[in-house]
Symmetry: C2
């Protein structure tokens, strides 16, 4: 059996990559597509719900699909430094791919607002972290300016190679199911991922590999829902930190995906997100980041409103691994019971 060699080697024909280019990969992609049973039954037994669990990518999030492309492109053009503004998943992914090919990674963050825990993964891979006396928008503006002369490669999602890599998730779903779903739900933060999935679905449809297109359903957190509100949010707030973004870089592309597909972009509350987060773990055994659960929370919300026809095939993307956010994971779990170390005491708990 040939070794699985990552998304670039699998989907080379669909990607902007030279045939002699070195491929920088950590074997991203090829993530599980769970056909949910217990969760589906709890929501609506007449639906078919599939879970694309991107948390099993090498650094624990979907960012790796785009990063293999962005770092490969940078490496093959002779760059040996990458830079991004990020406080979480992007910095971890950039740092890991850079480490793999001996490039340096620099991460700009706003001063004083970031827990060390959110940054530790990128730092472990050897990224150099630079705190600036400014906010996140300042950081993004600075990395754009500094990379403009080509001396260092920008790997935020404004880099078009990122979207190219991320579109392969749609290819995998169609390759595995044999068809495109009727609906595709995913969390919306910076809005690059909904843009990428829609691009992937359209490419397979245009090449007649699939016979239909899904309606794209994007879900923002209620306290951080600029596209739903129709204006940027100055101080976005949500427990779903990975989508706590007030001014999405791919705002227009997300609206285009929604409108072209006949889908929706809606908001879900933190309570709805946490309920879906718990259901995914306890009913399916799938432990994702809080932000990831926004896709399932949105499906639950739309189902209650009678949105889905019976038999609808729905894929929900779960963008990241629950281990990324140990603080939320430790909250709201029941305290252990404490008993004497004998058989009858244990039996009493088992039977209670």
């Amino acid at each position: 059996m040939p070794r699985y060699e990552g998304i670039i080697n699998r989907y080379r024909a669909f990607l902007p990559i030279g045939k002699d280019d070195a491929v920088i990969t950590l074997y991203e992609g090829d993530t599980p597509l769970h056909e949910s049973m217990n969760l589906r039954n709890a929501i609506n037994p007449e639906l078919n719900i599939f879970l694309k669990f991107e948390g099993l990518n090498p650094t624990g999030s979907f960012k790796d699909r785009g990063m293999t492309m962005a770092v490969t492109q940078a490496y093959n053009t002779g760059s040996r430094k990458v830079i991004c503004a990020s406080t979480g998943n992007t910095s971890a992914s950039a740092a890991a791919y850079a480490a793999n090919c001996g490039m340096e990674a620099f991460v700009l963050i706003p001063d004083g607002k970031i827990a060390l825990g959110k940054l530790s993964q990128g730092m472990r891979y050897g990224a150099k972290v630079i705190q600036i006396r400014g906010n996140f928008d300042d950081a993004l503006e600075l990395v754009r300016t500094i990379s403009a002369d080509g001396s260092i490669s920008l790997v935020n999602s404004v880099n078009p190679y990122r979207i190219q890599g991320q579109k392969t998730a749609s290819f995998e779903i169609i390759d595995e199911l044999g068809f495109a779903p009727d609906f595709h739900a995913l969390p919306v933060g910076n809005a690059g991922n909904i843009t990428a999935y829609w691009m992937g679905y359209k490419e397979y449809y245009d090449k007649r590999i699939s016979k239909s297109l899904p309606k794209m359903l994007g879900f923002q957190a209620a306290g951080s829902a600029p596209i739903v509100m129709g204006h940027p949010i100055d101080n976005p707030e949500t427990i779903a930190t990975a989508i706590r973004i007030g001014k999405p870089a791919s705002w227009k592309q997300a609206e285009a995906a929604r409108d072209e597909s006949g889908g929706r972009i809606d908001a879900v509350t933190d309570e709805e997100i946490l309920e879906a987060y718990n259901m995914l773990a306890c009913l399916e055994g799938v432990f994702c980041e809080p932000a990831s659960a926004a896709s399932v929370a949105g499906v639950i919300k739309l189902n209650k409103a009678g949105y889905f026809p019976p038999g609808a095939k729905i894929v929900c993307t779960l963008t990241g691994n629950g281990l990324k956010d140990p603080d939320t994971a430790m909250q709201n779990v029941p305290a252990p019971v404490t008993i004497d170390a004998n058989e009858s005491s244990v039996r009493r708990v088992l039977e209670s």
Copy 2:
């Protein structure tokens, strides 16, 4: 392309599973095998070093390979409850597979010595955690006693189905490389995994799928090295918590794997483990649990002693995901630099 369906469906012919049995899977296995370049060059350019990264299993550790078998077997015999004694990876895996098929999971832990963080993953999947007023040996003894009547299924590694599932990692390595390596290095805690790998290598060899057998190299942490010392350790201590076990359940089987293969079981210090842990992240972009790095630390140690012939093909198993241990991940990382938010300040850092 057919969907990857987990280790039971892939390796059914080699596993004790009935053809009509329901398969409980979270799509474990199929983990990356990295051919290391930067790490290999740092250790000894004349070696070939491959990294089997088991941290990308569904719950973040190799335990999932065994748990799909143990929970599948329990489910198909009509059991609806599983129990284990564990403070970490085993409890998370048991809880996730139990959740997926609607079974209840119970975890026994010693009172007062476990950080909530280590248990939170299992609790998230809905496991019921029972602290007993006793030590870990008491907990293991109790779960053995309580499960003896068949009313609840024991899923610690004394359950033989666990080892059956774990042996599939050897199959994957041979299937991907096209040959068995000359050496296979892995961390040794409770010693079930070295037992399982050796079983897998022997089965493929006996069926003539591979033409050779590796020498098995097991590495214990120096403060927790009962097999190396030749006696149980009452108070094992090491930063590598996943292998902090003083009295391994599969002690004799581990010695048999060592002796039959002509390999070694040796000890590595916490400093050597942390050095390998850092090298894996910064040179290869692979972030594993501290315990996982014991395999690479051991290879570095034996290489310095001139143990390996030039050209040796060595596979190192990395047993778990680095995100499992955020406390260690956050230690010993350099503090971020803080600068003003302007281009020239950033450029000075990039060029320093």
